[in-house]
């Protein structure tokens, strides 16, 4: 019978990503059912407990001690797995070729004088400190870490703005700087469309679509999900709009965000509207309702009244891409062009005999929200873990109810585990779980490709999809990627289709297909726009010109955004590997929590630094 075995390695600090790799490697060993490897903080121990991996008695270990727990079919198999820890850890510690890995940003900056960017993906508790050091060294910051306090975000961003630097983040997954992808990014042709995005997946989806429609991107500047909140006041987004205004390579600007705070949207739109360049606005779930102005039809009219300058509101991400491409090409819309929004299987519903409920298993919040917004009113009630009043919040995201749309990249799923864009394990489990539910008739999932993402997700998802399908269960996959992505998008699509999934390249097409398959009633409100959030209904018709002034602070030097020659990576090694694959020199820090995370020592160091 299966049981838990555990080992404690005192004082053996390892980065969480290394520990995750260790976990994965352990579960691949014979007869091992599950494994956990964590630094023994109280939070991590409670995570083990939640996964049924807390050994009894609880090991005597503290935050600087490594705890490894294995559940195996036999005690022997468990013990054998524990014996492999040393070997597996060594395997994970690259750095070969004798390359020096500095511990401090100062040393890294000295070793790579050409670096203009620091990528920061350390645990949130330390992220602001690292980002602050990077700013002090004159580096722009790509801040992937989440769990950074809003006060710290504001402090960092104000500091950066005064210094002519960008803080992209926190919780920024994607940027495209001078043609180079930072974080999770697709390989996208360079072009004339400049993007400002508060959502990484949103940036990926629109940039990929632009590429597939034959155009390209000048800059894709991430802001982090909270930048357009009232508190932060779009500091980064305003800097980014100012950059794109001055950038001679940018002819069209695209703004992407979840619903922003109304007054911030006001300022941002004012700034964007005064750039003299056409601006496409994709505020999810808000659409054209953000302004009370002339009705904006799909892809044709602009708030400014002329077709090439002013604000153009898009209902969704794919429309944003199409609008941008149209404007970039000089106005004429070529709706489908080389890119087919729908790949396959959008014909007639199989038999109309699917089980009743839809289950959306998304790797990120943006596509999940977009899907939810499009399903709303058609499938009710809708459940989700997206924290939006537009659906019923699930009490237990671990179990779907009725129609459910899940963001599997949310904290409740990813704390202590790799993100589903990196590791398919969570989605594989959830796919099986949904397939076991006889009421589940349609599973939707996204497969986001590009640098940083899993190197071959379809190879892991396709077999499970094939297994999950049954006469009353269909699977729809939304593939976000370009023909130049390292995963080879066409091959990924083939694998998924081979497994019986219907593949689409954007949410709109996928949702239409899903509704058709489920035999959902026709949209009663198809002609009338969905109501926006109450606050945004009161937008002024015209953009006040005085708000469109330069952002305070020092303008970011455009030269900093030319193709980066070098960057400093603190945290996820995957990001350094992606840069290397794009022929950007990436120096990886051998980062550890400062002062081992000891609060008193940190406090002293902080005071002595001043």
């Amino acid at each position: 019978m299966s049981g838990l075995v555990s080992a404690v390695r005192p004082g053996a600090y390892r980065d969480s990503i290394v520990l995750m790799q260790l976990q994965v490697a352990l579960t691949e060993l014979p007869d091992v059912e599950d494994a956990g490897a964590v630094m023994a903080t109280p939070e991590n121990l409670s995570l083990l407990e939640a996964s049924g991996l807390l050994p009894a008695p609880v090991p005597e270990a503290g935050p600087t001690d490594l705890v490894v727990v294995v559940r195996a079919a036999t005690k022997e198999a468990g013990e054998q797995a524990l014996d492999r820890i040393g070997t597996l850890l060594r395997r994970g510690s690259s750095g070969g070729e004798g390359g020096f890995r500095p511990h401090s940003l100062e040393a890294a900056a000295r070793l790579t004088p050409g670096a203009r960017f620091a990528l920061v993906s350390v645990p949130g508790r330390y992220a602001a400190g690292v980002a602050g050091q990077a700013l002090d060294l004159g580096l722009h910051v790509f801040l992937y870490s989440d769990n950074v306090g809003v006060d710290e975000e504001i402090r960092l961003k104000r500091h950066a703005r005064d210094a002519g630097l960008l803080v992209m983040g926190p919780d920024c997954g994607t940027a495209l700087i001078g043609g180079v992808g930072l974080g999770f990014a697709n390989r996208v042709r360079r072009g004339q469309i400049g993007m400002v995005a508060a959502s990484g997946t949103g940036l990926q989806a629109v940039a990929s679509a632009i590429h597939e429609l034959g155009r390209g991107v000048s800059q894709g500047i991430g802001t982090g999900g909270r930048d357009l909140s009232r508190q932060v006041g779009a500091i980064t987004a305003l800097q980014a709009v100012d950059i794109l205004r001055r950038d001679p390579e940018t002819r069209v600007i695209v703004l992407i965000s979840k619903p922003p705070s109304p007054e911030v949207a006001d300022r941002l739109l004012a700034a964007a509207g005064s750039t003299g360049k056409p601006v496409v606005v994709a505020f999810q779930g808000v659409g054209q309702k953000i302004i009370n102005g002339p009705e904006i039809g799909a892809g044709s009219k602009a708030a400014g009244g002329d077709n090439t300058a002013g604000l153009h509101f898009a209902d969704d991400l794919s429309e944003a891409a199409r609008l941008a491409v149209t404007l970039d090409a000089g106005g004429a819309v070529d709706g489908r062009s080389a890119w087919s929004a729908t790949r396959s299987g959008d014909g007639a519903p199989a038999s109309g005999a699917l089980a009743p409920y839809l289950r959306g298993l998304f790797s990120g919040g943006t596509l999940a929200l977009e899907t939810l917004l499009k399903l709303r009113g058609r499938l009710d009630p809708l459940h989700s873990n997206l924290g939006t009043e537009r659906s019923v919040e699930l009490e237990d995201p671990g179990r779907s109810r009725g129609h459910t749309v899940l963001d599997l990249g949310a904290d409740e799923f990813t704390v202590g585990r790799p993100h589903p864009m990196i590791d398919n394990d969570l989605r594989v489990r959830r796919l099986r779980q949904e397939a076991d539910d006889p009421d589940a008739g349609l599973i939707m999932l996204d497969v986001v490709l590009g640098y940083g993402a899993h190197p071959d997700p379809a190879s892991e998802l396709a077999p499970v999809i094939a297994e999950a399908r049954r006469p009353d269960l269909a699977v729809i996959a939304i593939v976000v990627g370009t023909d130049e992505d390292p995963q080879e998008t066409d091959a990924q699509i083939e694998l998924l289709e081979g497994a019986g999934a219907h593949v689409h390249r954007d949410v709109s097409a996928a949702v239409s297909h899903a509704l058709a398959l489920l035999g959902a009633p026709r949209d009663p409100a198809a002609a009338a726009p969905a109501p926006g959030p109450p606050a945004s209904a009161e937008r002024p018709a015209a953009v006040p010109a005085e708000a469109a002034s330069e952002p305070a602070g020092r303008p970011v030097a455009l030269d900093d955004l030319t193709q980066p020659a070098a960057a400093i990576n603190v945290g996820l090694e995957r990001f350094a590997e992606s840069l290397a694959a794009q022929e950007v020199e990436a120096i990886q820090l051998d980062w550890r929590p400062p002062a081992g995370g000891d609060e008193r020592l940190l406090e002293i160091l902080e005071k002595l630094r001043r």
Partner: protein
């Protein structure tokens, strides 16, 4: 308070220090506070009961040498009785490799810091084999010590007295360009030492055979210059000591039981924790089971910016500590992260003549969790067996944490 400014001051003083070997003298006639019943030893303070094998052996040997005891048992009894006072060399401006035991009649090198005027001391290197510094005290060990005191020391003393002394900082600058790092490898430096001493010693020799013996003894021992180098590093470190508000480390030393450090802005307080066993290569027939915990004052070299900190200059000895010349460069690169400055006079050709990493900052060590690297010889855990290997060791992180906490307390942070 501005710690960085205080540290800059401390390290400026360290680098400006110009240690010159000016003489050789009896310990009790030169070392401040030295007396008949005082034995100096390496590392932080320690009482007889906690001393490791090699240090106990060296104490016994010194008591026999001074004829305070007539045999080992009596020596041990006297040492345990409290009749003998023990003190760190460091507390008397001195340093000694391995056990580092200095007794009152022993000859010591006298180094003078021409910039700041203070003096430092170290004993004479005995060469290889059965030697006091590894805790050996057999009759041949004592006989050699006697010759060193009665033959070698006067010859060196007279030679140096008629000279302007030997500029050890200049000698080290040159040796670093000849493949030495100044701690484990002193081959080039010892030959430079011989080259400088020979024309001082030879003209004064009354007996060509004795002069030959003296010069051959210096030339045959690739560690001859280690002791004057250590005294010179001590002079540099002492120049940086006592700067108010500075977190620069001014002493790192081991007594075979504890590893201790002192900090510029924290007066003469030691911060100690159990010494670790070096990680390295062992001579044939020995293994880590034979190793004594880390011992000796020779870590004063790393304290002053050479030794393991200058590893990139000494690719020939990387096999002791890791593997490839690239590792040697990486070792030095890592030490830049925990030091305040780059040395003006000690430079590394392979790093485009970048100065060696100099002046360990307690703050950086604690923040980054990167402890100083130390190149070291490894002593057998039993008295008198001698060196069993060489390798790399790092001080325990906790002594730097202790120092930072004490610093915060001392300066009300």
């Amino acid at each position: 308070m501005d710690v960085s400014l205080a540290n800059a001051t401390a390290v400026e003083r360290m680098i400006a220090s110009r240690p010159v070997l000016t003489g050789v003298a009896r310990a009790d006639e030169s070392i401040p506070g030295m007396h008949d019943h005082l034995l100096l030893h390496a590392g932080p303070p320690i009482e007889w009961g906690r001393m490791s094998g090699p240090l106990r052996g060296a104490v016994i040997g010194a008591l026999l040498y001074e004829e305070i005891a007539s045999d080992a048992e009596e020596a041990a009894r006297i040492a345990a009785s409290g009749a003998i006072e023990f003190a760190p060399c460091h507390d008397h401006a001195a340093v000694g490799p391995m056990a580092g035991v200095i007794s009152s009649s022993m000859a010591v090198y006298v180094v003078e810091d021409l910039t700041h005027g203070h003096r430092t001391y170290s004993n004479l290197n005995e060469g290889y084999g059965k030697v006091l510094r590894y805790g050996a005290y057999s009759p041949e060990v004592l006989d050699k010590l006697r010759w060193m005191n009665e033959g070698l020391a006067p010859a060196l003393a007279e030679g140096l007295a008629g000279s302007e002394g030997i500029d050890i900082r200049a000698l080290l600058s040159e040796a670093l360009h000849m493949g030495d790092e100044g701690h484990n490898r002193n081959k080039a430096g010892s030959l430079l030492f011989l080259k400088l001493l020979a024309p001082m010693v030879a003209p004064l020799a009354l007996d060509p055979a004795e002069a030959t013996k003296v010069l051959a003894f210096i030339g045959d021992n690739a560690l001859s210059v280690l002791n004057p180098v250590m005294a010179a590093c001590k002079a540099m470190a002492d120049a940086a000591h006592g700067v108010d508000g500075s977190t620069v480390v001014t002493a790192m030393a081991r007594n075979g039981t504890d590893f201790g450090i002192r900090v510029s802005g924290l007066a003469d307080r030691w911060f100690t924790a159990p010494a670790q066993t070096p990680d390295g290569l062992y001579f044939a027939g020995f293994s880590s089971a034979d190793a004594n915990p880390d011992i000796g004052d020779s870590t004063i070299t790393e304290t002053a910016g050479i030794g393991a900190f200058a590893m990139a200059a000494a690719p020939a000895i990387v096999s002791f500590v890791s593997g490839t010349p690239r590792d040697a460069i990486n070792a030095t690169l890592e030490m830049y992260e925990i030091t305040v400055a780059e040395h003006e006079h000690f430079t590394i050709p392979t790093l485009d003549f970048r100065g060696t990493p100099t002046g360990i900052d307690v703050r950086s060590v604690v923040e980054l969790g990167v402890t100083p690297r130390v190149n070291t010889g490894i002593a057998h855990r039993e008295a008198g067996v001698g060196q069993v290997g060489a390798g790399l060791v790092r001080p325990p992180l906790e002594i730097f944490e202790q120092a930072l906490l004490a610093f915060a307390e001392r300066y009300g942070i």
